[in-house]
């Protein structure tokens, strides 16, 4: 019980806007730099050194963008729902800020996954859009992101907006597996097994390495951008507090 209390105390302390602002300021350059290195190395490796796919030729190389983006689109929504739940239960304001800063980034990843998926689909299926289970799920996920952002911008009071969005994100995250499962089921029923899925069943190690590099790069890029956005939001939300005024004065 006592340990739990001191853990909570530590978290509250760390999550206080002032400390967050200070620490995130130190983390951002590191995250950003690492993200840049990983993304550059990963793209060079993926585009030039990874072997050519025997079925799809060079066009498969888009997976080095598409797959990490699709992974991130799910991951960011999970982050939003988790931090929303944390904000609702423990009333940690910072968690709200993280959730609302994540939404546009997650939506951008989702859009990227959709666009790259459709570009990839063109040579494979001969059409820009196919009602493939993964693409359809991604599209619905984009709707969920758009709903989150629309709700946030519709509610005037920022704290009420954050709490409403937290509830929406939690409801969404509970529904995502159900939606995903039903879309998958619908898809197999209507198209049978003839359509090639976007994923290859097994991936060669020389393709896997750039893919993982890119995925890690995407994660760090997200971490960088979300911290930057959250810092701005924290400053804005705490504009009445002394430490913010001191920072403004110092500049």
């Amino acid at each position: 019980m006592n340990i739990w209390k001191s853990v909570m105390k530590f978290i509250y302390h760390f999550a206080s806007p002032k400390h967050f602002y200070r620490i995130s300021g130190k983390l951002i350059p590191w995250f950003g730099g690492l993200a840049a290195i990983l993304l550059i190395v990963g793209s060079i490796d993926g585009l030039f050194f990874a072997p050519v796919d025997y079925q799809q030729g060079d066009s498969y190389r888009i997976i080095f963008i598409h797959v990490p983006a699709a992974w991130m689109s799910m991951f960011v929504y999970m982050v939003m729902a988790t931090s929303g739940a944390i904000a609702l239960i423990w009333k940690i304001k910072l968690a709200d800020v993280v959730a609302s800063s994540s939404a546009p980034i997650g939506a951008a990843f989702t859009l990227l996954a959709l666009v790259t998926g459709s570009i990839w689909g063109k040579p494979m299926w001969g059409a820009w859009w196919v009602w493939d289970a993964r693409l359809t799920s991604e599209l619905i996920l984009l709707f969920l992101y758009l709903g989150f952002m629309a709700l946030e911008s519709a509610i005037e009071d920022p704290r009420a907006a954050a709490r409403a969005c937290a509830i929406l994100a939690i409801v969404g995250v509970i529904n995502i597996p159900i939606i995903h499962y039903s879309v998958e089921w619908w898809n197999t029923l209507h198209q049978g097994a003839t359509v090639t899925k976007l994923d290859t069943p097994s991936i060669h190690i020389s393709m896997l390495i750039p893919l993982l590099l890119m995925a890690l790069g995407f994660k760090l890029y997200y971490a960088t951008v979300v911290l930057m956005r959250a810092r701005n939001k924290v400053l804005y939300a705490e504009q009445n507090n002394g430490w913010v005024k001191a920072i403004i004065k110092a500049q």
Binding site: E156, Y236, Q239, N240
Partner: protein, 228 residues
């Protein structure tokens, strides 16, 4: 039974005989604008707290926080020594709230309105409801739809609602709006009776409230200064 036990365990030591409403270090913001800060006061049985302040100083926000409808940025509200947020249902049993919106359904008659409201706490018999309506001067209007009543008459229906809830703390936001002199007089008499029975009243109004044999406190917003 288990509820009782839960209560007893949670009572902080040394505060066991506390009665009434305690507010400590309440801070409220609207948007990013601070309305009031570090507001602390208490209200004991048999007292009235009259909240004063210009428009936009947060009178309504304060009442909504005290009723548990809104969240403060920081600070605590406790009733009889219990945290109102943790014991929401028990606290709700003790309070009656009258806001800008009266909570009257226009498509229902006064009797139906009061009956369905009372069924959310203590169900009342038809006769009790009719008596209450007669007391607030709505005799003969019981079977009319509320959209045919005037604004003042609707407020009288809400008055009858409050009368029939056996609560200790009344939270009234501009209760005298659109009431005529007779209505205000009657309402004041009701408040007097409530306070005489050791009830508590929190209200905002531009009207002077002078009652006998009871302490009336004045809370000035946004400064939070208390005068008696």
């Amino acid at each position: 039974m288990s509820q009782e036990k839960k209560h007893q365990e949670k009572i902080p030591l040394g505060q066991k005989n506390i009665k009434g409403l305690f507010v400590s270090h309440l801070t409220c913001e609207r948007g990013y604008r601070e309305l009031f800060k570090d507001l602390s006061f208490e209200l004991s049985p048999g007292q009235i707290l009259h909240i004063k302040g210009e428009n936009g100083t947060g009178k309504t926000s304060l009442l909504r926080i005290l009723a548990g409808l809104a969240l403060p940025v920081s600070g605590e509200v406790s009733f009889d020594g219990y945290d109102c947020r943790k014991y929401r249902s028990e606290y709700n049993e003790q309070i009656a709230f009258m806001g800008h919106k009266l909570g009257i359904k226009l498509e229902l008659t006064p009797v139906e309105n009061i009956r369905s409201h009372c069924e959310l706490s203590i169900p009342r018999t038809e006769q009790e409801i009719l008596d209450a309506l007669e007391k607030v001067g709505l005799y003969g209007f019981e079977e009319m739809y509320c959209n045919q009543l005037s604004a003042g008459q609707k407020r009288r229906v809400a008055l009858a609602q409050i009368m029939l809830t056996e609560t200790r703390l009344w939270i009234l936001d501009e209760p005298f709006t659109s009431l005529d002199v007779v209505g205000i007089g009657f309402f004041l008499k009701m408040i007097q009776q409530h306070v005489d029975n050791n009830g508590m009243v929190l209200l905002t109004t531009h009207q002077d409230v002078n009652l006998e044999n009871c302490t009336t406190k004045y809370l000035q917003l946004p400064s939070g200064e208390i005068t008696i």
